[in-house]
Symmetry: D2
Subunit: 355 residues, 4 copies
């Protein structure tokens, strides 16, 4: 139901343009769809392609002040050449050569790292050196100084996740340079934050004020693995413990609140038993998965993709997805769910779509 | 500090593109600025231009199913022709001719109306008819059915505010048609929501569950005006009551929580004494003001604008602004502050910028 | 199942006593009953008895520093001569003769007043004079200085409610004398707190910090009465609004949170239509009611009591109660429900007891 | 300032008594003291006295349905022969002989156990068997079925803490018998709750709903010890980690919220370096300490007490206390602080009293 074309209407529209106005009635179908119609598309990036490109970057691109990080962002093919894996999230592979240092800086954007393989790098967060090893999930929440350095003779690659697109789009970001080197080159097995906070159910009296983001700098693989194995063992013994039959899962949380690790990013780890699958699910908001171990696949927006270690894929808002495991299948996941929940836009639909 | 150009680098960049990857080091200056550098620009829309265009639309553009509303959106000149007053907010002038009805629908997007002049329209929210009159602030929070109808022989115009850009950008919106007519053509002076909820400090026992958005459909001008007048009178009597000397202000709140009326939108009303001014202020997040009454101006990003009744202006993120009043000066304001606060991106700076 | 008596057992028990020990096994039936077995008993105090005693006190007992208040506390007959209406609550009739002043003091204990009849007294809370009139509910939350003075030539009586027994039992109370006179003898119709806060859904920008107790000093009868009348009118029109059919009710709340007015005391007002009754109800925690107007009765622990204006009764924990209205029946209620809810001891049972 | 004695006054007082009324002016000095004046007194119970009495009880007193538990409560000498260690808290030594079972029951009262020495008993909480060993802190929050059984050939003693006095005084308690035996005689090293929840910073997706009390049944000594040792090591390295110099401390928390383990009881563990001491401190609310290991003392209400392993002492409200350590000194502490904080009665004063 649009107005009939006429010279008067065209004159009106020209006046609109002159006055920086746009009518709703010509835009509403696009602006307010019946359900989310993301421009972002489902996409899979293969680790077997990502890692060699990161290695080539290692040879050609220095790391240092200005460029700041040798990080290569996943650019959603639907988002017009922007370095956004989704409208809210940034995901990248970062690469640090032997003995290299990525200088310290801080920014409003919340960041984490997840290590699918390798070791030898320490990230220094507000002066606290944090070891990075396979399976670890590491935090650098907004406005914490951080830099990285590789103590070994081998390069190391990992993934970074941030809320850069959200921050950019909404004009919320501040950025500040720190030391050109990291402020502490010590290489302890455990960071000070872990030593203070990683005792289950125990809170230091020196840390009774709740914090916006988790004070834990590193969530170690040994804990994640044990938590998931325990859930499956409990399921075997007949007790409720898993997220769904055959599907163990944990969420990384802020121990001061029990809530998400950072205000904009949720992170989880999922383990599927061989032969299991998850029901089709749609959710408001976008997610990125990385395969940590095992073999299986995802049906993503109706298309099936086989997945191997290190492969990453993005699930845009309201796109249906389901996982299936050929072998025991371990996946790291992060998403913008805290944004959706805090602003009360979260919705999900499990099962086949209604006609 | 960028890598030196070379055939190998160009080949690497071509490989990135082929694999849907974008390096951080070429983007970081734009992506992660030192402070917010909004693409949105400060801008003023004059009521004396808006209203005649709305009236011309009234003659040329039907209102009904499909187009849904005769609303004309303020398009920030910096946002590339999108109908966004800021990256998060939509602001529009809506116009309803004598005896017209805008059909019912509902959507995830949160909406409000503010009436700078006129009367005669009722908005029907989930079946509850709500009178619209000068100075009233009216809510249609996400997923509530609503339609409007004009009971009088005169047209009426008002402003709409929504979180359409945020919703669009982040793919969170759902939309559903309702009745083609409004479901109740009664024209009570007070809506049922007001009769249940608008008793200061009193909560019905039938409404003890907290709600995400305010259950009050209309915040009446008589209450707003009296609250502001009381603050100034208390100030005259020597008691703390105003936001700052000479500056009375209220926030519209959800009585079940004391917090903002909707999860994404804050609304306030400000009254400045003649001759007073506010200090320069920068804030993360964007705001829109509309002059309700009086005469004065705004210094916005370093440029001074004189303002009259109905004039609207947008303050993009981190752009400095200050108001000054020639006569008693009343302004309605709405913003995306709840988004910034809930996601912990809020920051502000009052006073002259540090060098 | 108790141990058999023997010299050895008696010697053991003597040793317990010598060491300040008491065995659980001899106490458990009393200490941990199957359901609450309050020592407090249901009781009704008739206004026709209370008021003459208050008047006689006016003639014989001075009001001033030391005794502080001419208040006469309701002493639950089951509580061994302590001035406690229940284990948590104090309720009293207070009486102030013409032109008398009760001096200022402050204490940790939370206090309120409710006025069943009369006028002419102002209570001064932290320097803010608050008029007291029929139907008003007035707050003096913990640690606020307060005094009262009678500006008229007639005496005035009202009821006080506090958490004195809870405070005494748990050793939480502090007390401090203030001015021997009230600090402001002005007699404004509205207190400054009301002028700042009593605008429905509007919050002053000068009051954005949430407060433990309500910033409203007086909840006026006109608002309470209108809120209740609106609920019944909405019910007549066919809309959900009342607590139960024929039963309108409001809770007095803190506008900064939507929650109870003070951390330990809940206050409500109930209105029953003529001929209506409430179902039998048991609740954990204790309540006190005062009839404000009308005629009806209460069935309290199985005994029926007819009630008239000013009559007060206490409902100890888990004692069943139901109200019935002969005429339109208005009752003020206060309770310790916030204690029960915050500590997660709240439970209720509606309807006839299960066998 | 009391009224003068007269026949009329005596008649008035007699009328008060007849009507179940008590005047405030004769009571206020006792009822509303300048600061808390607890009837409870500071007291120390020596483990060397407690344990032999528990052993004698083991010989003389059966454990089973009716008596329910072979628990011997600490009776504060100031509380008139009631089995209350303070007005809010119950503390007891419980003793279970070889192969004995204490039957299952549940109650509103929140309970925990702390093990100063021994092993061999499992407590079964809602069917989940939980091993009890030296240094462990174990929960049975309100309304969870629980029983105990000793799997060994040796007796075992531990301490129980509950909110029985609070519950009794305020009439909030419900009680229900369960199985006469425990429902699961398995003796796993870790309970199911621990296997699901005791992974630092990780939350099972099957447990995303927050719970009123902690889902962790046992807080193991190895974690507590490591947390405390880490704090002292960090302090040695020059980083902030301890509650005060030389004073490591943790609070046991609910991992779903980061808050106290149960709504009425706080539990903490404190470790003092040899030669260190804590400043004098007064707090609203009452606490109980038990020495876990080491040697030192407490100055409690001005009196010094030397303390050894197992010794217990109570700190009534607002009584000053300070600890000093001769050797490394480990103490378990529990208190009613959640009550005080949730009801906003909490206050503390550190340092010498002001004159």
């Amino acid at each position: 139901m649009q107005p009939e074309d006429s010279p008067a209407l065209r004159a009106l529209y020209a006046s609109f343009e002159a006055e920086h106005l746009i009518p709703l009635w010509t835009q509403i179908d696009d602006l307010m769809p019946v359900h989310p119609r993301p421009k972002a598309v489902p996409h899979v990036w293969k680790w077997s392609h990502l890692l060699p490109l990161a290695e080539r970057s290692g040879a050609l691109v220095p790391v240092g002040r200005g460029g700041e990080r040798r990080a290569i962002g996943l650019a959603n093919p639907g988002l017009g050449g922007r370095p956004y894996v989704s409208p809210t999230l940034w995901a990248a592979i970062q690469y640090l050569g032997p003995r290299e240092t990525a200088p310290e800086h801080r920014h409003s954007q919340n960041a984490f790292r997840f290590v699918v393989e390798g070791e030898g790098v320490w990230t220094v967060v507000n002066g606290d050196p944090v070891r990075m090893s396979r399976g670890d999930f590491l935090l650098t929440p907004g406005w914490n100084f951080h830099g990285h350095h590789n103590t070994s003779d081998k390069p190391m690659a990992w993934i970074d996740g941030l809320d850069i697109p959200f921050s950019y789009q909404n004009d919320v970001g501040f950025f500040e340079f720190g030391s050109d080197r990291v402020t502490d080159y010590a290489t302890p097995a455990l960071s000070r934050g872990e030593r203070l906070w990683c005792h289950p159910g125990l809170r230091p009296l020196s840390g009774l004020e709740n914090t916006v983001s988790s004070p834990i700098g590193a969530y170690r693989w040994e804990h994640t693995d044990r938590a998931l194995a325990s859930q499956l063992a409990l399921e075997d013994e007949g007790f409720p413990a898993t997220a769904a039959p055959g599907h163990a899962a944990i969420r990384y949380v802020n121990p001061t609140t029990g809530g998400d690790v950072m205000p904009t990013i949720r992170a989880e780890f999922h383990r599927l038993r061989p032969g299991s699958a998850t029901p089709q699910r749609r959710e408001v908001g976008s997610s990125v998965f990385q395969v940590f171990e095992g073999r299986g696949g995802v049906v993503l927006g109706g298309t099936e993709h086989r997945l191997e270690k290190g492969d990453m894929f993005v699930v845009p808002s309201w796109v249906p997805w389901s996982l299936w495991a050929e072998q025991a299948f371990d996946l790291f996941r992060f998403s913008d769910a805290p944004i959706m929940e805090r602003l009360h836009f979260a919705r999900s639909h499990i099962g086949a779509d209604t006609p």
